[in-house]
Symmetry: C2
Subunit: 232 residues, 2 copies
């Protein structure tokens, strides 16, 4: 019984900090997305392409979570946006980000000049699912190469997400994968979860994801999309 | 400080049970392999093909670890070998197997008539790396689709493993992946880790893995490989 009690307190403590983060994000009218996936599902490439295509219209920032290395932060920093790297090696190699890590990370960001923050969570389909970070939306990225049964095998992350991105659809001709079965298995654990099939590499289907993102941004009160370039 | 102390005790407790498991496996001269990977890297298909090709020569058993579902156990049960499924949903959705779970699982196996046990760990590159199960060898399976930087980003699992299987090499022509860079990054975290490139789908390179397995089996004292079929 003790174990469960400790876990509950731990999650409660996390949720309290997540709420603090959320209030800060809301105050500055920032849309915050928590991207979760297995290792190598393509989160970073999706972010690179997204920022490249929308950077004239939105002011982005990225919080990168990894166990080790700052490779992904370096990939994103070339877009001349604020990027904060969190490595969990110093937290015993933690398998997910938590609200306190995000709270520290945003202290290094000038929130008043940011509109969208992407949090790239640690590559892991299990642990990140349970920890709210104060985000507006959770996005689960599944690579087509991972197989049809992942929604059934990792139900919590699919249940808790607001959007499913099925990435690497350019590989479909080379794979024995039934996309309809992925969608069917997804429906079983979260019948409301919308899914977008795309390839960050070939950009097939990519516009649907950008449209979703812009719509989410606009759905927060008092936000406007810049029709031209942003000026400082 | 308390957190670290608890973690240490927890790992120590695990190691004590792992040693018990190891003694049992050694007593019965069973080779035990702990297979770890990201979700969807192809562990189950590798096991299916391995068992199919070697079942005339070895008596296999499989312990399947998943958060939810018994899909993989069902896939393997068709080879008419003992399969035990562990689902961690009842352990709060734990992100890895531990020695106690294995200890319980082997109570359902007739160890005296088993030669090789595969433990298919939960799809996760972080948590399983730290928990010994009493196995002889840890095998990390990396799908080629996951990218070149995974050894750097998830160093512990690469550091603690005895063999790296780079799977899905049949997709190489369709991917922008530099296999030499994967090997170079692997060397940086574990310069002794041997690597085999294979495709469980096309069976390219598969014989090297089978040869490694047979060699590992033979390297334990008093073990013999059956040249014909096993008889009960």
């Amino acid at each position: 019984m003790r174990k469960i009690k400790v876990l509950t307190n731990f999650l409660e403590a996390n949720d309290a900090v997540a709420l603090e983060n959320k209030k800060l994000f809301d105050k500055h009218k920032i849309l915050v997305l928590n991207l979760m996936s297995s290792p190598g599902a393509g989160k970073t490439l999706i972010l690179e392409k997204t920022i490249e295509k929308l950077k004239k219209h939105f002011k982005f920032a990225v919080i990168e979570g990894d166990v080790a290395t700052s490779n992904d932060a370096k990939r994103l920093a070339k877009y001349d946006i604020p990027v904060v790297q969190i490595t969990t090696e110093s937290f015993g190699g933690a398998c997910h980000l938590d609200a306190s890590m995000i709270n520290k990370a945003i202290q290094g960001l000038k929130l008043s000049s940011i509109q969208i923050i992407f949090i790239e969570n640690i590559g892991n389909l299990i642990c990140p699912a349970e920890f709210d970070l104060g985000e507006d939306r959770k996005v689960i990225v599944l690579s087509l190469t991972e197989g049809e049964d992942k929604p059934s095998k990792y139900p919590v992350v699919f249940r808790n997400s607001d959007l499913l991105l099925i990435n690497k659809v350019d590989l479909l001709p080379q794979l024995d994968i039934d996309v309809d079965l992925i969608l069917k298995n997804t429906k079983k654990v979260n019948h409301k979860l919308p899914a977008i099939q795309l390839s960050a590499k070939t950009e097939q289907g990519f516009k649907k994801w950008l449209d979703w993102l812009v719509k989410e941004y606009k759905s927060k009160p008092k936000r406007k999309v810049c029709s031209g370039k942003w000026r400082e």
